[in-house]
Symmetry: C2
């Protein structure tokens, strides 16, 4: 196959003939599209459309420790340690959601929010999007988890969290990407030097 120009984009090659809502609940809908594929064949394409935009917030304190929350993830049937995350309601700015989730889940307030990443979480099946912030200059208030959330909290050296990502123990895609982006920012001068030094200097594993 020939190489194209870097970042060249095609226009939409799909033809949609009709759309039927085939599932819906409070959290997502499934829209089934009768389509002509780019190569001409008729078919169906069912798209999962979550009702809320995913928001993640990675709190790192001045000592270079990451504040994580742990919970049982029902869809996976597994326990999962992650950064605080939630869903922005339609029209709610992602930053407002990040502030709310951080305070509800950890009791922390952040003086600084840095945008870190924009992601599409599973783009062959769904249109779910995510915005991730780095939260710095932390002060402690009081945690107020929602009644459906049974959360543990922890505070772990950044290097140990990186190790848990590399080992496949921390597996949540938003948390994995956020931790690795924070590492990238720390080693490339995108964070205040004392913070970067605190993040990269702790823990047992060399990072």
């Amino acid at each position: 196959m020939a190489m194209s120009e870097p970042w060249e984009e095609d226009s939409d090659p799909w033809i949609v003939k009709s759309v039927t809502r085939t599932f819906e609940n409070a959290w997502f809908v499934v829209d089934t599209h009768a389509v002509l594929h780019p190569h001409g064949a008729e078919g169906d394409y069912s798209v999962i459309r979550p009702r809320r935009h995913a928001v993640g917030v990675l709190p790192i304190d001045a000592e270079g420790y990451v504040h994580l929350v742990g919970q049982w993830r029902f869809p996976l049937g597994r326990y999962s340690w992650e950064m605080p995350e939630g869903g922005a309601d339609p029209g709610e700015p992602p930053l407002a959601c990040a502030r709310r989730e951080l305070e509800e889940e950890t009791g922390l307030k952040a003086g600084t929010y840095l945008p870190m990443l924009e992601m599409d979480l599973s783009n062959s099946l769904s249109d779910e999007t995510a915005t991730i912030y780095l939260a710095l200059d932390l002060t402690l208030g009081e945690a107020k988890p929602e009644p459906t959330e049974v959360l543990k909290r922890n505070r772990v050296p950044f290097a140990d969290v990186v190790e848990k990502v590399a080992a496949g123990y921390i597996r949540d895609s938003m948390t994995v990407a956020a931790i690795l982006r924070a590492h990238h920012m720390a080693v490339t001068g995108l964070l205040p030097a004392p913070l970067a030094s605190a993040m990269l200097g702790h823990g047992q594993g060399g990072i």
Copy 2:
């Protein structure tokens, strides 16, 4: 909220009373569970269960260039530049899927596959899991995309791809995480020194 021991885990706090399959097609099913929440209330939890395990493979050549593929992502209604990705059928080893997808989508064969990441892509809604490899020692064969795939190909300096991740232009969660993990591996001595040097030395932006 009190701090727990690092990485302490709770056991399953949910009670499932019944399960109904409320949607299915060739790619995923939705199972709706009648549950008792951890706090005791009755409710429903609908879980999206993709039929295939997601596999991604990030090919980086000896000159430190990343080989990407571009395609229109129907669920998003947007064009997307990504690493080669596909789905492993039940029972298919992820590595076999990675080899197949790399060759089908780019024509490349890799002499070395390094496991990079294990992720859960959207753990509040689905049980979709992903395995990501770094593919090195590349040789060129002939690309054989599946008929439903209309792919562009490109070869871009690693530093330029990192910039596109940071800028929010590359947004696919698996590709974002893979690029940042490759950066982490390159700067921490986890890759051969000549390769790391090639990856970190190219492009305009400092990485």
